[in-house]
Amino acid sequence: MIIKCPYCGPRDVIEFTYQGDATRTRPNPASTDQDTWNAYVYDRSNPAKSHREFWLHGGGCRQHLVVTRDISTHIISSVVYARDYIHAGGK
């Protein structure tokens, strides 16, 4: 699999580390609501279709990326910096 890093260009997947589901939002740190936190820490969606994931380009620019990937075909439709994604409100 090849991921096209917005900084480094296309690179082999071996340079990247999977960092989890990017569709979750971290609860307010002050919140002590256990259900919200449980859902954030433990629940992961695993749809057999397009999904958003965090990947760290640890073998390159060391940026976290948000990769939109179809889990059933491995076809990647977009890769953006995680910072930009978070700034845009997780969209």
Partner: protein, 995 residues
């Protein structure tokens, strides 16, 4: 079968003679011969014994599809088994052995397996060796008894037992277009692609490019196509944007248009130049792939079809035209399509007698009739071969009338003398790579074969791999596939009007008893095995494959796939596409493990060395691996045991002073206006309140509240911190911090840089450590006021700049002295020199561990991904004034449960050592299974206490203090009484380090 060297012809270099050894006997061939062609030229037709039945087998094919002629290459003690004789290029001094024969190829005792045929049919292993023990001759116990005999009797070549001495390498390649195959389609597609300026790689598995052109009977612009091909290859290879790889088999197709190939760089050479690999593993990332992989001829399944002398028709042709070898002196052909006629003509032109062509079709074209006439071969239409007569090699065949509509055999058998039968059952496009890439192959009724699925990545299939069987359409398709706007001028082809579309006949099945008819030659799967599988309920192709092992041998069913499916479809009364096909998997051809490992030979991982590494080695350190690091374990003296050495080292620290290399600690530079705020969020305790020039011990949790890592962080300026992590967790902590900055708090202005390698660190510990520093540090005082506990000062030692922080892991008064890594050895030697008068000694990880166990400090053994701060008695570090990573989850009931394991100390009561990993039990004597209520995380001999001690995680730990238990290690046969004590086993109030 009397195979022989033809007086002329072939691309072998007849002037160059090559000597090689086969089964202990020396033979000679020519430069350019394969082992198969050279042995056939020497009259050898028996190459090996078959997998299960030990039947004599010869050569079936002429290339990578060969299922039978597998040999083992012997080079000293090294054996490389299962090499296809049809691909192995001979060289002077080559030594090969035939396989699966005992004691010799000619006289094989295991051939009695043939008599036991019914016993060894499909499912034999499952039926005989699985399930409950209901008698002495059933079940896995019986298997264990029989295994040794069966392994010897059934199988392929034997692997060697010595290490592979060869060199292998990886090569990363990038191109716009990868062309797999260099036959007519590959060459034209490559030329068209190269003309657009694209970077092109062409990979050809054979030593010579040209594919089918090398044995073609057509003319290209009035010339021999082999000559045309050679000129085309030379022209292409000279282009700056084309790389031409021969002896390179593309074997895997992966996501992202990554293909893998193995280049046989020097397998064909008697000697290698220095540094030259035997094989190279190419990983090719391509924009577009053009699969010009050609097609494989397939056999017809008929009784007795596996004896030496029965070959594929095209293989007979290729041996004659390419290698100048007649596979027989009196050759016959058996076919269901026109291509065998072309082969017969080529053979006749090479000077071989063709006595008959047997065709299942009752009517053939005028061209076919003409060919038979011209070459003087008897044409037997509407006929089929129904048996063979052979000792070790073919002597005659039985032919009967055959009705292609009904599949029925009739009439009196007729015996025809022949020593070689060329068989053609039609052609299967080589769609293996496309199938690997994904999608379901599609059945082509006209070709009676599967075609590549629709492309799911940027690839195209061209030439006969795409189902084009005549050269004119192959070339025009290839030009278009190479480049949509190709303006190549294609050669004018002169070819016979032959039609490769076969009659849909895959098997000749006489009524009543007949010889075995083989489908998969390499795994000895017969047509009756497929019928048996059907009768026993294994109908789907996936079940058929696994039950009979059809297509699962090293040739991956290249010749057996379609005939096997056809037979199953026929039994089930459905069409072949309805029966379906299995997906091809990598590798396309067998690949050695060595070439996949590539340059990662011997050491699989890099060695990470501290700046003082050479000093440690020169001064007697025994090292061990801690992750990638190589760290001193002890600095032993002659005659000392490991325990004696670390005890001596640890005692020296408690009594005077010792020095240990701590350069391996993870170090992260944390800078920016929000650095303090960031630390407050990732650590459980406060860092924004830490003054400049001070360090603080910090604890990090995971989001789920479990302890993640600990370490000290030093405030160097208002906006710059130096974080230290445990050695093992340096990478994960960096990743953890980066995650929060990138994905959770991107607005914080903080930068992280790994500076582990920037600093060399030496910790000096012991009551005399301050005195040592006082004698060597300049530019700063190091007294208790200037440098209190957790204080940091900057100064110089031996004129090099140093940073000193007063910290303690050993429980003694201690300092970590840091300098630039390039000065590490100089600093270390200066400290040793300064400590000489205090008898300073270097100590290793064992002593470091002993000192920390005595103090009850935790490391990775206790921070094991399951423990909480509370379990480790670190709850005092959990700030109640702020939220931090993990704070929301730490109060969950499960993490506060009183039954949780928590940290305690252990003291051995029988004066015996305690094994790490032992379970804590209450039974006085060893019992299996025992009720464990904890486990030992670390243990050592404590020189300070004069006892064997340990740390353990124990249920209700704190309330167990003062109680007696047993540490039991059933694996290492150790069981001893221990007393559970507080984890602070030495200097509980910490007075020593604050002094």
């Amino acid at each position: 079968m009397t195979s022989w060297r033809l007086p002329n012809g072939g691309r072998i270099e007849r002037a160059k003679s090559v000597g090689f050894t086969f089964d202990g006997k020396v033979y000679r061939g020519h430069q350019g011969d394969t082992l198969a062609s050279a042995l056939l030229a020497s009259g050898i037709t028996l190459f090996g014994r078959s997998f299960k039945y030990h039947r004599p087998r010869g050569v079936l094919a002429a290339g990578s599809d060969e299922p039978n002629a597998l040999v083992t290459i012997i080079s000293g003690d090294v054996r490389e088994p299962n090499v296809r004789a049809t691909e192995l290029e001979i060289y002077d001094g080559l030594i090969v052995q035939s396989q699966n024969r005992f004691p010799s190829l000619e006289h094989d005792l295991m051939a009695v397996n043939q008599l036991a045929g019914p016993l060894l049919s499909a499912g034999f292993y499952y039926k005989t060796f699985m399930g409950p023990a209901i008698g002495p001759l059933k079940s896995t116990r019986f298997w264990m008894f029989c295994e040794k005999f069966i392994r010897r009797a059934a199988g392929l070549g034997k692997a060697g037992t010595v290490a592979d001495p060869d060199r292998y390498e990886r090569m990363n390649a990038f191109c716009d277009v990868l062309v797999v195959g260099s036959g007519p389609a590959g060459l034209i597609a490559a030329e068209a692609a190269a003309a657009t300026g694209a970077r092109v790689i062409v990979a050809e598995e054979r030593p010579v490019a040209g594919g089918s052109l090398l044995a073609s009977g057509e003319t290209f612009d009035g010339r021999n196509p082999a000559v045309w091909a050679r000129e085309k290859v030379d022209a292409l290879a000279s282009l700056p944007n084309v790389r031409f790889l021969t002896r390179t088999s593309v074997w895997g197709y992966y996501d992202g248009n990554i293909l893998t190939a193995v280049e046989h760089v020097s397998d064909h050479k008697p000697n290698r130049t220095r540094g030259q690999p035997r094989q190279r593993h190419w990983v090719i990332r391509t924009g577009k792939t053009i699969l010009a992989t050609g097609a494989f001829e397939r056999p017809i399944v008929f009784p007795g079809n596996d004896c030496p002398g029965v070959m594929l028709a095209d293989a007979v042709r290729r041996f004659a035209v390419e290698y100048g070898v007649g596979a027989g002196k009196n050759v016959t052909f058996f076919t269901n399509n026109d291509s065998a006629y072309d082969a017969a003509r080529a053979l006749s032109m090479a000077g071989v007698n063709i006595s008959a062509i047997i065709d299942v079709r009752s009517d053939v074209s005028g061209t076919c009739n003409d060919i038979a006439n011209v070459i003087g071969a008897e044409l037997l239409l509407g006929s089929a071969v129904t048996g063979t007569h052979a000792g070790k090699t073919l002597s005659s065949i039985t032919v009967q009338h055959f009705n292609a509509e009904t599949g029925r055999i009739s009439g009196a058998p007729r015996e025809i003398k022949t020593d070689c039968l060329g068989v053609s059952g039609g052609w299967s496009p080589a769609i293996h790579l496309a199938s690997q890439a994904g999608g379901k192959p599609e059945w082509d009724e006209d070709l009676q074969a599967f075609l590549a699925p629709e492309a799911n990545q940027n690839w195209v299939v061209t030439g006969s791999a795409a189902g084009y069987m005549d050269t004119v359409s192959v070339l025009s398709d290839a030009a278009t596939k190479g480049s949509a706007n190709s303006r190549l001028i294609l050669p004018t082809i002169e070819a016979s009007m032959l039609d490769s579309s076969p009659a849909p006949i895959f098997e000749i099945e006489p009524a009543g008893k007949s010889q075995k008819a083989f489908v998969d030659f390499q795994h000895d799967v017969t047509a009756s095995d497929i019928r048996l599988a059907y009768r026993e309920g294994f109908h789907s192709v996936e079940h058929l494959k696994r039950y009979t092992t059809l297509g699962m041998a090293t040739d991956q069913g290249k010749t057996s796939n379609v005939p096997g499916l056809a037979i199953m479809a026929d039994i089930r009364g459905i069409s072949i596409p309805e029966a379906g096909t299995t997906r091809f998997r990598a590798p396309f051809t067998p690949v050695s493990m060595g070439v996949i490992a590539g340059e990662r030979y011997g050491d699989l991982r890099p060695h990470r060395l501290t700046p003082m590494h050479d000093w440690h080695i020169a001064n007697g350190a025994k090292t061990y691996e801690a992750g990638l690091w190589h760290r001193p374990m002890i600095y032993g003296s002659p005659g000392e045991t490991i325990e004696q050495a670390y005890t001596r080292e640890a005692r020296a620290v408690r009594e005077s002073v010792g020095i240990v290399d701590v350069s391996t600690l993870g170090k992260i530079d944390i800078q920016g206006p929000d650095a303090a705020e960031f630390l407050d969020r990732v650590y459980t305790n406060m860092f924004s309140t830490l003054p400049v020039g001070k360090a603080r011990y910090g604890l990090m949790l995971r989001e789920d509240g479990i302890v993640f890592d600990d370490g000290t962080t030093w405030r160097l300026t208002e906006t710059q911190f130096l974080m230290t992590t445990t050695t093992a967790n340096a990478g994960p902590v960096m990743q953890h911090l980066e995650y929060y900055l990138d994905c959770v708090w991107p607005d914080l202005r903080v930068h992280l840089t790994s500076v582990t390698d920037v600093w060399a660190g030496a910790a000096i510990s012991g009551p005399k450590s301050r005195a040592v520093l006082e004698t060597c540090v300049t530019g700063t005082k190091v007294d208790n006021t200037t440098l209190p506990f957790m204080g940091i000062v900057h100064g110089r030692i031996d004129d090099i700049p140093v940073m000193v922080c007063r910290l303690s892991f050993s429980g003694e008064i201690a300092y970590e002295v840091y300098t630039g890594a390039g000065y590490g050895t100089q600093l270390w030697e200066a400290l040793i020199a300064a400590g000489k008068q205090f008898n300073i000694i270097p100590y290793g990880l064992e002593a470091l561990g002993t000192l920390r166990i005595e103090k009850g400090h935790v490391t990775g053994a206790e921070i094991d991904g399951r423990t909480t701060a509370h379990d480790l008695h670190l709850d005092w570090m959990l700030s109640k004034k702020k939220a931090y990573v993990g704070s929301a989850m730490i109060n969950r009931a499960g993490l506060k449960d009183e039954h949780r394991l928590s940290l305690v100390g252990l003291i051995s009561l029988d004066n015996q050592s305690i094994n790490g990993g032992s379970h804590i039990v209450s039974d006085k004597t060893p019992r299996e299974p025992a009720d464990s209520f904890g486990h030992v995380t670390a243990a050592c001999y404590s020189p300070a206490l004069g006892k064997y001690i340990g740390l353990a995680l124990v249920k209700h730990g704190t309330s167990m203090i003062g109680k007696r238990a047993f540490a039991t290690d059933l694996l290492r046969d150790k069981h001893g009484a221990v007393e559970i004590v507080s984890h602070h086993m030495f200097d509980k109030d910490g007075s020593r380090m604050h002094g």
